[in-house]
Point group: C2
Chain length 877, copies 2
């Protein structure tokens, strides 16, 4: 019976494996085999397959029969290929040992370099390199690495001995130690190992190799790796590791040696030029460490022209082979080029778009491939300024990433001051405990907004996102003293005029003026978006509350409005009429106040319908609890009392009366419209009067009226009746009729669970996944920040469910709701209008559930368009 | 082809129908037929079946062919039986017309009496009764009733004319009008009808009958009836009405006539004695109206001995026939007894228990029937004082029914004062804005507790329920001024020392001292409970936080604890140590504070384990947000600062830091234990040290540790590990091992939706339906009071889902969770520990889902035991 094959050789232009054998050889092993097959010079070696890992765990950590023989055979082949021998005093075989599963995982074993060294081999290395210090430093490093990683001796043990040695020699840097010192350290390290393990450090290279192999397989069973696989739904099979054993090559063997990294195209701009850096007489880690300054890779042309030409040729060959921009690591040993690794290169959003589009033009890839090559979220970098990833930053506090982008400016504490300084040409950051409608002018004038209180749906966050302006909200670590024009963060004081930088995409508040990268919309961006629109089937709408937002969103390609929050209009010029309405004791008084609001709402709707001509506009009736519209402190109460002529005591009493312990679960949404149907009626009237007005001018209007926070069909029925009755009244009065839909926001678990009942009357569902996430998890977005951070860091949750849709929990309600809804109304229109509507994985999930559309803030529309296209392409794969 | 039968005769000892034909004849019609079959003297008549109602609506409001003929035939039969004729001047046939479906519904047509009257028949009535005033008063009432109910003339029209007449005559009471006045009124009423309807009042008795029949059928299609049927899930079929046409009999025809109502047993006590009251020379409505004082029915023996003997005999016969206590209406006309109605009599909880048990002893019914005869909720009346239903009350405000029962006492505003007055022998009601742990002594001393703020799970509510003490909470209509020792309700002032009465079962606050009925536990109660325990399969546990509660609940028959809230212990003597823990900056400080708490918790657990010897005890780890333990105002902060030696500013800052917008959705439940595992560890240690201590003394302990507010399996895993590690440590230290379970509370939608994941590690689920209702509906119990009232009153919701489990929405999560949980762990123990665990319909729902147990507050344990028995019996039917 022929023995199963466990070990796969690579190198010298022939390999047992190739790139398709990722599951069996791991990503690294398959890639090394592939490169070797392509004739790329790779230091030869062999891969012990993941099958061995499987058998090892299945058979109580016993290896299959024949493995040892196969390793021996491959070692012989390797020795033959290199003319080297294990432990040889002339040309010793030295190896690297690395783990490598089909997918990369944290917690796996670190690399071991220079395996094969012992006292004899060290002599051989001196003989070969002519560099005694280099040989003993390699030996010292090997003992340390092996001792730590394989034999589990604490890293500090070795560092301590190294420190002692430097102290004894009176030097400060490792590099100041000489060959003799290092040779002594090797002995000291070995003694330390014996002391901790009770055994001698293994001198036999074959034994070293076996032990390293064991350590690799053991590491794939450690708790951290297991947890990671569970959290990321990585199957047992994909989580098994292979062991890659590869001949060492040295870039630090003199002036004709060197190491470097290179990209086949510019990873910042995407320009089609070979790009990278290298160091002569250095190992790979030196290039990264930054002690010496590397040279641009183009300089290599002058120093080692043959190696350079070969490198560029290989780069192009690999790019063509993998049909993607490559990030390669190389080492030149004595003038001979070796490729150590190739992988698809990381790139900025800008570069990703350019490379993807240009590769289609060059015929390298097709359009669907191009669309999957740009991570949808990376488009953000093309739409907002971002913090330069190379900049050194000092994080002084962290808040919620309430509105993406980045901003630099001087701290100001009042909206008025922000407007004054901005008028004088200064860039400012408005810092407030929380913002209110009175601050709009200052928010508009500022580069960015920072608040100490309030969550992702606070006034500051919502307004900033609408403006496309960077905002960090709910930064509770700030102690803001507005009277003294100062704030404290971690005990340090920041005064008006001090510079800070906000990163609205991460929530970081940074000290001083940090370099930003400005966004740039290239022609390639437009091309990619066109391709995305051709590919996708999901409509992309926007969340927009004003005519300005609507126009802006149209430019980003929004195909209608998925959520127009009418309360936003309430916060505007009509705020005092809103307050009169809230303070009214009886229905007639309330109606009188509402009558004052009607023209404001109507004119806003007219503007929105015009901007969205021909596209549907989903308008949500009043949602927030009424107390949000009332003043918060004594001074504001007093001022309002004088302005609208309502007794201050009455005002205070009403505020007290409206106080809620848990406003998120209080008297809001359709519960307002049910207790005060006149509010819904006024809003419906404003909508239909506006619709008729616009329709009469020949513009197509498609209003979709959305009732919020419905939990029971009876709630929807009552509100729907008010809307329909009002529509009929307006049509009768004006003699004009427009088509419209009445539907509901599904944002409570009960609504999803009883969706069959609700869909009997509702013509569309729009999932409000912000609120639905809050109730499904029982977590308030505003309050959860305090522990969610801790949760995500410790892996309790894989990600913040307010940013990425929780497909397992919240997602199951989306599925239950859509299925139940469509069971009674097969043509039910279903969409999503929570923040997740612009988050790529959530967009793809919605596509999978057969939704009709997603809706997101204007600046995320391009991201959603791309993600929607990717969803189709990925589903076809 | 024989015509289908539409009309069913009854009377004279023979009937076309019987009691089983409820669907066809309606409840009333079937019962009249049944009585007649039994030989009970019933005024004869006939029933037009519900089938006609069906055909009427199906055929565009046309009656089926042959109906008229069948009515004519039955009228003739009726005239023959009575020797009377429609419109006769000697002995006119007069009829009553009533609706009657299989189930009773509001909004159906009112009764029409004296139908058949016109000017001729009025003369006949005078001839027969010899009483002109009686005849014209009957005529006037008929025109009024018919005009209003059938012809839709506003009631006020007639009342206005009546008032005018009285004014003109200078009298005040209707009864002061004479025959002539009434005859004129008849004409005026008829003119009013003509004016409003354009047609003459119908004088033809046959036409009157047809019109009344039409009105009955029309009323079953009115919107109120339709809504009621939809809300109560009454099928189309069961909602159809029949029309009952019956000969009038008159109890007001002289000294040998009379009317009365009687019960076959005492409806207050259940004693087996004929009971009731009557009036000589009066109609039924006079008995109810209370203008004359009725006599006890036993007096009838002396006045009309034959009629009395017959009445008692009939009563016994009906009781035996229906095998239940009967409530009968009777009329004696000229010495002849007529039974107008019999139905199962309403009774108090006390009476229900006694009647049920005695009827089994008498061999009338079997035990399962006896168990279904007592509405489980009515047991409350045997356990708590209740407001006398006959008492006249003045409701001054309404709050939440936070703890059942009733209490009378003098208003006091401080706990201290409550204790002082109670010590002096006064009964007091403690009135507070909200209560805090410091008030415990005063709450214990008071008869009842009234708070202006806080919901069903507020401190006051939870403590009161545990004490079995009446409490009305969250009564937001009160303005309490504790400094001035007064409160205002609807503008009226109540001062310290004023008497008020609380109804904790309804939430009513009543003025003055209202009569209460004291509870009484009879031997029959014990017997019924024994039968219930034999019948049921669901275990009944209790929610108890202290050894005292636990002992109390054992006496009520609790079979273990389903929820022990450990924070309750935190609120007790250890409160300052809790605060030190919260204020600690670092883990060691926190651990030091926790070490102080450990002995408190341990001794509480020892007491609880002892009280529940042999029964399982489910202990929930810390649940409420930490800020609940900190002082709320400046004075308290200052006082605490001095007592525990922590800087007041630091205290304020920490309170500010812990502030949450929506504490219900905040940092609570297992989220505390995950961020501060040392808290869970201390609690687990206290539990296991106590368990070992008790077990060593030979007492069986069965601790079940419950992790609250789990939404994701990872949360549970982490907390479970802390519990298990601690258990093992304690077992090792003490050398004793006890069996225990670790499970979780399912109180978030996400937990139910991912129950298969969670059950992989959790050994039991306990549904926390309070929180689950909050999140499923997105309604905070504390805040919803403001609109839930409105919702229930207007039929948006059928009932308050915090009192009665919402089976459609929340219930579907119970089902999903149990099914998913048991799909991976078939022996998963499942229970419920929300307030619904003691609510009968919810208990039955849990039985239907195959739960293992329900858990409720001690005083509801008997209710749950009975409901659990009823669930089994009803499922077998």
């Amino acid at each position: 019976m022929p023995q199963p094959k466990y070990v796969y050789f690579f190198g010298g232009g022939e390999s047992d494996g190739n790139a398709t054998m990722r599951t069996l050889l791991g990503g690294k092993g398959a890639n090394l085999a592939e490169m070797s097959n392509l004739g790329v010079p790779v230091p030869p070696g062999f891969t012990i397959s993941t099958e061995v890992c499987k058998l090892y765990y299945e058979n109580n950590k016993q290896y299959p029969a024949g493995l040892d023989e196969q390793i021996d055979e491959n070692l012989e082949k390797l020795e033959a290929a290199l003319g080297a021998k294990f432990g040889d005093t002339e040309n010793p075989l030295l190896l690297s040992v690395r783990s490598g599963a089909a997918v990369s995982m944290p917690g796996m074993m670190d690399t071991i370099l220079n395996l094969g060294l012992n006292d004899n081999a060290a002599k051989g290395l001196i003989a070969r390199s002519g560099n005694e210090r280099f040989a003993y430093d390699s030996y010292r490093r090997f003992v340390q690495m092996f001792g730590n990683v394989v034999l589990d001796v604490d890293h500090d043990e070795f560092e301590h001995l190294l420190e002692e040695k430097k102290k004894a020699k009176g030097v400060e840097l490792d590099t100041e130690l000489e060959a003799d010192d290092l040779a002594v350290l090797v002995d000291e390290f070995k003694r330390a190992v014996k002391q901790h393990t009770g055994s001698d450090f293994p001198d036999d290279p074959r034994q070293q190799l076996d032990m390293a192999r064991d350590a690799v397989f053991e590491s794939s069973g450690n708790p951290r790796a297991i947890t990671y696989r569970r959290l990321n739904d990585i199957s047992e099979e994909m989580g098994r590791t292979a062991v890659n054993v590869q001949a060492m090559v040295f870039g630090n063997m003199g002036r004709t040696s060197g190491s470097g990294v290179a990209f086949t195209r510019n990873p910042s701009t995407g320009a089609n030029q070979f790009y990278g850096e290298f160091l002569i007489n250095a190992q790979g880690e030196d290039v990264v460490a930054g002690i010496r300054t590397p040279l641009p890779v183009s300089e290599l042309r002058n120093i080692l022209p043959d190696a350079y030409t070969e490198l560029v040729d290989i780069g192009l060959k690999l790019e063509k082979h993998y049909r993607d921009m490559q990030d390669v690591e190389f080492t030149i040993q004595d003038g001979t080029l070796f490729m150590l690794q190739t992988r698809n290169g990381k790139r900025t959003g800008q570069a990703a778009v350019r490379i993807a589009v240009e590769m289609v033009e060059e015929g390298l890839i097709d359009k669907p491939t191009a669309l999957t090559r740009v991570p949808a979220n990376d488009l953000d970098q093309l739409l907002h300024p971002s913090v330069d990833p190379d900049a050194k930053v000092e994080v002084i506090a962290q808040g919620l990433p309430a509105s993406p982008g980045a901003a630099v400016g001087k701290v100001v504490f009042t909206a008025l001051h922000a407007e004054e300084l901005a008028a004088a040409g200064e860039k400012v950051i408005l810092v407030r405990t929380e913002t209110s409608p009175e601050d709009i002018g200052g928010m508009d004038a500022a580069e960015g907004i920072l608040t100490a209180r309030g969550g992702m749906t606070s006034h500051a966050a919502v307004v900033a996102r609408g403006m496309g302006k960077c905002c960090v909200a709910g930064c509770s670590a700030l102690f803001i003293n507005e009277d003294a024009s100062e704030f404290y963060a971690e005990g340090k004081r920041y005064a008006e005029g001090d510079f800070i930088t906000l990163n609205g995409s991460t929530g970081d508040v940074l000290n001083g003026q940090v370099a930003l990268i400005q966004p740039e919309l290239s022609g390639q961006f437009g091309t990619l978006m066109e391709w995305a629109d051709e590919a996708r089937s999901l409509d992309v709408r926007t969340n927009a509350d004003t005519p300005e937002d609507a126009k802006n969103a149209r430019q980003f390609g929004a195909e209608g409005i998925g959520l127009c929050r009418t309360e936003h209009m309430f916060f505007g010029t009509g705020i005092d009429a809103v307050r009169e309405m809230i303070l009214a004791d009886e229905t007639p008084e309330r109606e009188a106040a509402l009558a004052k609001l009607l023209p404001h709402q109507r004119s806003d709707f007219i503007g929105i319908f015009e901007a969205m001509a021909g596209y549907p506009v989903t308008i949500r009736t009043l949602d927030p609890p009424l107390h949000e519209f009332l003043p918060k402190n004594e001074a504001e109460i007093h001022e309002l009392s004088e302005r609208i002529g309502v007794d201050a005591r009455k005002l205070s009493e009403r505020i007290e009366e409206l106080h809620e312990f848990n406003p998120m679960l209080g008297h809001r949404g359709c519960r307002l419209g049910i207790v005060y149907p006149e509010i819904t009626e006024m809003q419906a009237r404003a909508i239909f009067e506006a619709a008729v007005d616009v329709a009469k001018r020949g513009i197509t209007v498609l209003p979709e009226i959305m009732i919020p926070l419905v939990g029971h069909i009876n709630e929807f029925s009552l509100q729907r009746k008010v809307v329909i009755d009002t529509a009929e009244a307006v049509f009768k009065e004006t003699g004009t009729r427009v088509e419209y839909l009445v539907g509901t926001m599904i944002e409570l678990p009960r609504a999803a669970l009883t969706a069959d009942k609700i869909a009997a009357e509702a013509e569309f569902f729009s999932y409000g996944t912000n609120d639905l996430t809050q109730t499904t998890f029982g977590m308030s977005r505003d309050d959860a920040a305090k522990f969610l951070d801790d949760y995500v860091k410790n892996g309790v949750l894989e990600y913040d469910p307010f940013q990425i849709l929780d497909q397992e929990g919240v997602g199951s309600l989306l599925q239950i709701g859509s299925e139940k809804g469509r069971s009674v109304r097969p043509d039910l229109k279903v969409g999503i209008c929570g923040e997740h509507g612009g988050e790529p994985s959530s967009v793809k999930f919605c596509y999978g559930l057969g939704f009709n559309y997603v809706s997101c803030s204007p600046f995320r529309v391009p991201i959603a368009r791309l993600a929607a296209a990717q969803a189709v392409i990925e589903a076809e794969d």
